[in-house]
């Protein structure tokens, strides 16, 4: 019940899912596949509170211990429960104007802003990493340079209107880049499949843990 049955369930589900995806023409398997796809999402949905409980535990302990910055923890919990209760009991659906305001004016712009900060990090990573330190690093440097120049009007301007850089950039992207990525992809696929098999067979079972025994 405690260990063997969960492992058996893992294996049975994995086999069922593989058969349902590879084979057609069996009504039972088609139903099973649709059902499992749906169940996967429902299971995760009903487990959703695990995250909020963890946030509440961690920040609750920070507050009760009056640890450095505990006031931020108070604010985080206010935001969490405020938004949750507002959504469930006041807005009641995703088209409520207050709800869309919170999303469009706060959450979406914050998301877009953090996403956009990558522009800084991509700059500093390029500055730090692309040095002629070794032949390998030099290759990185040169291809990145060609790419960056070939992608914007600046590259053409530097060559007096000639599109050589942009053509070179296209070629590098379509040929060597694509070849290197494909080699990685093929190897990674085998690694992933083998890992999944070991999990399904219960050979790797760190997740079964030792609690409650």
């Amino acid at each position: 019940m405690k260990k063997e049955l969960p492992v058996a369930i893992t294996l049975i589900l994995a086999i069922l899912y593989v058969l349902a995806n590879y084979f057609t023409g069996v009504a039972f398997l088609d139903t099973a596949k649709n059902l499992l796809d749906r169940w996967y999402l429902i299971v995760a949905a009903w487990a959703v509170l695990v995250g909020s409980i963890n946030l509440t535990q961690i920040h609750g302990r920070r507050i009760s211990g009056k640890r450095e910055g505990w006031i931020f923890s108070v604010w985080l919990l206010i935001c969490l429960y405020g938004m949750m209760f507002f959504g469930i009991f006041v807005a009641k659906n995703a088209s409520h104007p207050g709800w869309t305001f919170m999303y469009n004016q706060l959450i979406a712009p914050m998301n877009a802003t953090v996403y956009s900060t990558i522009v800084f990090y991509i700059g500093s990573a390029a500055y730090r990493a692309f040095r002629v330190r070794s032949p390998e690093a030099s290759v990185l440097l040169v291809t990145a340079l060609i790419m960056m120049l070939g992608r914007v009007p600046l590259g053409r301007m530097l060559l007096g209107g000639h599109p050589a850089l942009s053509q070179m950039a296209d070629w590098i992207l379509n040929v060597p880049n694509s070849a290197g990525m494909r080699g990685i992809q093929i190897g990674a696929c085998l690694g992933g499949v083998a890992t999944a098999l070991r999990i399904a067979l219960g050979i790797e079972r760190g997740h079964l843990g030792g609690t409650g025994e």
């Binding site: 877009a112 700059g123 390029a126 500055y127 692309f130 992608r151 914007v152 009007p153 053409r156």
Partner: protein, 278 residues
Amino acid sequence: MWEKLANIDRRWLYALMIFVIALALIKPIGLAIVPSADTQKVYDIVEQLPPGSIVWMGMEFSAGGIPELMPAILSMIRQGWKDGRDLRFVCAGMWQMAGDMAEQAFSTVKAEFPDKEYGVDWVNIGYKPGGEVLLQQYQNSIIETAQGVDFYGNDLNTLPLMKEFTSLKQAKLVAIFCTGTPGEKEYIKHVTSPNNIPLIEAAISVSIPECMPLVQAGQIKGLVAGMKGAAEYEVLVGAPGSATAGMDAQSFSHALIIVFMILGNIGYVLTKNKKQAS
């Protein structure tokens, strides 16, 4: 001295980056932009439509796609309305913000064409739930599928354009603006391939590699590729806008990063030589 070039505080780069991008946006200098073949094709297809043709616009994106896609939409409307060509546009979308996006586009261009009238020259159906199934149903009856109302809540039966345009099959051209799924694949599968309607697309830079095979296969007749494509389109239509300014910002920020890379390498090489000498 040279060590400094190899170890410039990254915050200088960050501050300069904000500065050059702001400068390029406020005072664009307009570095020469040469239209690529794919953008030229989009322009030619729209140009060759007979005056008065109805174009279906699929607004398949949300706010995140605005910087790259909105300039292309504006350019297309301008191209369709200029010189008395009087193309008419019907907009809808499978993405929730479709109606807002169309509203934003047409309210901007309308200011330049005061005689254009809602309901006659364009209609904004907006977002309707149902995903790709919608595309099937729009071919049977647009008004029924849209449950009778447009984005603003008007009765679609009262709009003159909709009396003439009852099915998506009647569109002379389908133009879509996409950031992901649902997007071009759904249109090709349900609308443009079965009915043999030409499809043109503007897509964000990240999805261009995925679109290229479809362009090669002729399923997409013309492609406005990201901000670069949008800037080219603006140039073709003769109305430089945010994408053109954006391309200046792109050039400047790329140049800035390249300058830092070069400085770093100069610093690195000179420091190394000095160490070897001593």
